[in-house]
């Protein structure tokens, strides 16, 4: 039993529904009680889909439990087949139905429907949503993908995009463009955008482009094993990774690497002098492992930020993330407990957070700007405009969205110079975000309060034995809010290291000189 307030991932059957909703001609019959239908609103409200997701819930009630829930399931299956005439059916149980052990797979099989029926075994009490997407797509491939000849011209499958994915819609457009630039056709895009018939002919492609390992790595491995299709390991997020991706794809396709960089503005935007102020900005990064790792590389190598924290909520991908964190010299935060993430962010006192919608809220509480880089998503993560993360336009989008929450370079200097101007004060937040100033004065204090949360009281006492003399505290308040947290943390660390228990103005500036870069 584990107490949870907010979750990064839903149950695994929601993952299966994300796969089904991205596809056409596939229907999902889920043995589930009333209430589990809430999952529909994820797609109709958050993603603004204009169609109901292709799912039938059996809606069993307490009074059915004693009698015949199995018949209820079979009836629902037949009715769904009659009404929707799908090309294939996936069937499974939600958490409650798993307990009553009706065997949806066996029951559906016994109906003798004239279409493929694929049973999903998604253990609700040990696995989560991302397992659900990955396993469902894998099972679809296993059941439907037939051995076949390769296309005469070189082609690939783009695999991984699903319903409710963070910018999947736009990533597919960008990656398709990159591939077309090298004369490589997309044999299929799956699961999102495909029909069961398209899955059946995945084997015709020469290789696979794996966009989101979280959703399709199992399938990619299986296709490599059974159909001899190699798959790409580079996720093209950022201009460096996009270039590396092009090289990798060219090698797999046996063509010359080529990329039209006319529209790639991110490297120059980053190199131009206005961006100098971005140097060394401390960012904390958290999300699904693929997006978090990609963001960390872009943050360090392409934006010139300092990564001061890195983590992911999907433990399955902890190993490569840990390795990258080590390389960056930070400790990896691997957890699906958002309170733990909040504590880690508070302790790191970053100048910006790159995270999910959960971290956006944490940032709001702590007065730290945040840009969203990963699921879980919110209605705002489905913008009307084209806004990919991948490929050339993706790199441009990353630059814009990550810089937007920050105070601009010259403004930063002005704030430092005229700190006591009553109108132009740092506490108002970035001037281009009129009206919603973060709780700036409290940012540092809130960060410290959180670091001193209930869980830390027993073990973390030593850190807080330093006190600030009033003059030093006043001086600290003159430091602009976006670096105040860092200055406070650094000064305290400096003081502790030297066994100084009282921080004076002197100590503050000694620490500043010590950490100068």
């Amino acid at each position: 039993m584990k107490l949870t307030v907010w979750t990064y991932e839903g149950p695994p059957h929601v993952g299966a529904l994300r796969v089904a909703t991205g596809m056409k001609g596939l229907h999902y019959v889920l043995h589930a009680p009333q209430g589990d239908t809430y999952a529909d609103l994820l797609f109709t409200m958050i993603e603004r889909r204009g169609k109901r997701p292709p799912i039938t819930y059996t809606t069993f009630q307490a009074r059915d439990l004693g009698s015949d829930t199995a018949t209820l399931f079979k009836d629902a299956c037949l009715a769904a087949y009659e009404r929707h005439k799908p090309e294939a059916l996936i069937v499974g149980a939600s958490c409650t139905a798993e307990l009553i052990q009706d065997d949806p797979g066996g029951l559906a099989e016994a109906l003798g429907l004239p279409i493929p029926v694929i049973a999903l075994d998604l253990p609700s009490y040990s696995r989560k949503e991302l397992f659900g997407t990955d396993e469902t797509f894998y099972q679809l491939c296993r059941a439907l993908a037939k051995p076949m000849d390769r296309t005469p011209e070189v082609s690939c499958n783009i695999i991984g995009p699903v319903g409710l994915g963070f910018r999947h819609r736009d990533d597919v457009v960008e990656v398709t463009k990159l591939l077309e630039g090298m004369g490589i056709a997309a044999n299929a895009v799956a699961p999102m955008g495909s029909r069961p018939a398209d899955i059946a002919r995945l084997g015709a492609a020469h290789f696979n482009v794996l966009l989101y390992p979280e959703h399709a790595e199992n399938a990619a491995r299986w296709l490599e094993r059974e159909h001899g299709q190699p798959y790409t390991k580079t996720v093209p997020i950022g201009s460096d990774a996009t270039a590396a991706f092009v090289v990798e794809v060219a090698k797999l396709a046996g063509v010359k690497p080529a990329m039209d960089t006319d529209a790639l503005r991110q490297p120059w935007w980053s190199a131009s002098v206005d961006s100098t102020y971005l140097t060394g900005k401390r960012v904390f990064i958290f999300g699904d492992a693929t997006h978090a790792m990609a963001a960390a590389k872009v943050a360090r190598g392409e934006m010139g930020f300092e990564v001061c924290g890195l983590g992911c909520y999907n433990r399955e991908f902890a190993r490569p993330l840990r390795a990258l964190a080590k390389e960056l010299g930070v400790e990896a935060t691997i957890t699906d407990d958002y309170l733990e993430v909040e504590r880690a962010i508070a302790a790191a006192a970053p100048e910006m957070v790159l995270g999910t919608q959960m971290e956006r809220h944490i940032g709001k509480r702590l007065g730290i700007p945040c840009a969203v880089i990963s699921s879980p998503v919110h209605v705002q993560d489905f913008p009307a405009r084209h806004s990919p993360q991948m490929g050339i336009e993706g790199a441009n989008v990353l630059f814009d969205t990550w810089v937007h929450p920050l105070v601009m370079g010259l403004e930063e200097h002005l704030l430092t110079m005229f700190r006591e101007d009553f109108e132009f004060s740092d506490e108002a937040g970035p001037s281009h975000h009129g009206g919603h100033a973060p709780a700036a004065t409290d940012a540092g204090a809130a960060a410290l309060r959180l670091a001193d949360g209930p869980d830390d009281i027993s073990e973390g006492k030593t850190e807080l034995q330093v006190v600030w003399v009033p003059a030093a505290e006043k001086e600290l308040r003159k430091i602009p809010f976006f670096v105040r947290g860092k200055a406070k943390r650094n000064t305290e660390a400096f003081a502790i290291e030297r066994g100084v228990s009282e921080i004076s103005v002197e100590t503050l500036y000694e620490a500043k000189a010590h950490y100068a870069r």
């Binding site: 307030v5 149950p11 109709t44 307490a62």
Partner: protein, 422 residues
């Protein structure tokens, strides 16, 4: 007035359907209950699905550390119930230690906890004695196999009734969790009528919970509180039968019935309500311009469908085509059914595909439905109103009558603006 108008929909045959229900389960009520009861914590004992439902249904995440959470059952908990109980005790202990401000803890049963027969009533007893007197631990089920959406609030309030202090004094008990501002308006009206002792279930804090006894009269504020009413009856309290206080007419009839139960005559009611009634009529009239003559179809959702259909037809001039309800409590709905002008189909339960077929055949001007159905219907060219807003927005009593009508008028007005016909 002809016979049909007098009996309204009392004798309308009810379509009973059984199939896929596109409705939330009772856990959803936690989203408003935890804001209403400021020293209560709601601990769902369930699965990851329950936690995800609460998070998704809340729509905007309430990050001001919410007073609810889910104890997620894991494989080990399913293997042995003894272990599950130990785990629960441990999690509750941790929670109460971290939140010393919590005075009432609700253990909320879910589909999985019901199926594995985790006895939360015994757990609540055990934990109550462990944490008494500081914390009172209660339990109820919000599971989807037993409760539909607003029935969760009913189950919660019903669980509170046996623990209410006994009184022999005469008092009025208002039942239902309303926004504080609306509750205060109701209290002012009742005080003006001369009813002295007015208490509310649930109280805003544990020490404000009402007392109940044989001289208690209670009036339901919401139409979904059948179990709570039954529990109050067991304590000897007497229900004031009335339509529900939606709209000018509903509010007036509700106040009249309550006043009559306390021997207060119509003249007093008229005097006290004249000004707010006029205001309410004026505010409703503004929205009724948009609503008059428009047809409406209710998918079953919050259990508010019958009173709302009554309000929209009688006060706003709308025409109801079908009024779907999750379940029909004929006693509590008797006054509403009698007032609702004959004509609409009344449907209980749901087979969502069949009901959507009827929506498409009828092509109503506005369809009231859940969040999962609204956008798909809009894409088919039908105008919708999300039902969930009706339980999250202040809509009761005079001062909100105009807002209630406006909730229905807004989608129609918006559509007209976007189509350039406004």
């Amino acid at each position: 007035m002809n016979d049909q108008a007098i009996i309204g929909c009392t004798n309308t045959p009810v379509i009973k359907e059984r199939g896929q229900h596109e409705v939330f389960c009772g856990l959803t009520g936690i989203i408003w209950l935890h804001r209403k009861m400021q020293d209560a914590f709601f601990l769902v004992v369930g699965s990851r699905t329950c936690a995800h439902l609460l998070q998704s249904a809340a729509g905007v995440m309430i990050f001001a550390e919410p007073r609810f959470g889910t104890a997620i059952l894991e494989e080990g908990d399913l293997a042995g119930l003894k272990d599950a109980n130990d785990e629960l005790d441990r999690e509750v202990g941790r929670l109460l230690e971290r939140r010393p401000d919590i005075r009432q803890l609700f253990l909320v049963g879910s589909c999985p906890s019901e199926v594995i027969k985790l006895d939360l009533a015994r757990a609540a007893e055990r934990l109550s004695s462990a944490h008494a007197p500081h914390v009172r631990v209660l339990n109820y089920s919000g599971s989807g196999i037993e409760t539909t959406f607003t029935e969760g609030e009913d189950a919660c309030l019903a669980a509170m009734v046996p623990g209410l202090a006994k009184t022999d004094a005469s008092n009025l008990l208002l039942v239902g969790a309303l926004p504080d501002v609306v509750e205060d308006q109701a209290r002012t009206l009742l005080a003006d009528l001369g009813i002295e002792t007015v208490q509310v279930l649930p109280g805003r804090r544990a020490d404000q919970d009402p007392q109940v006894g044989p001289n208690t009269r209670y009036a339901l504020l919401q139409p979904f509180l059948g179990e709570t009413a039954a529990e109050l009856d067991k304590r000897g309290a007497k229900r004031v039968a009335a339509p529900f206080p939606f709209g000018e007419e509903g509010t007036t009839l509700w106040l009249r019935a309550v006043a009559a139960a306390f021997g207060i005559g119509d003249a007093t009611v008229d005097r006290v309500t004249a000004a707010p009634r006029a205001r309410a009529r004026k505010a409703v009239a503004a929205a009724a311009e948009t609503l008059a003559g428009q047809s409406i179809f209710f998918m079953p959702d919050s259990q508010l469908e019958l009173p709302l259909a009554r309000f929209l037809t009688r006060e706003c001039g709308m025409e109801a085509i079908e009024v779907g309800v999750p379940f029909l409590h004929s006693k509590i709905m008797a006054d509403e059914l009698a007032l609702l002008p004959g004509g609409p189909r009344i449907a209980e339960g749901q087979d969502v595909d069949l009901q959507l077929d009827r929506v498409r055949a009828d092509r109503p001007d506005i369809t009231v439905c859940g969040l999962g159905l609204a956008n798909p219907l809009e894409r088919e060219g039908l105008t919708t109103k999300w039902a969930i807003e009706l339980v999250f927005t202040p809509v009761h009593f005079y001062e909100q009558a105009g807002d209630l009508a406006a909730l229905f008028a807004r989608p129609l007005r918006r559509k007209a603006i976007l189509e350039g016909t406004a």
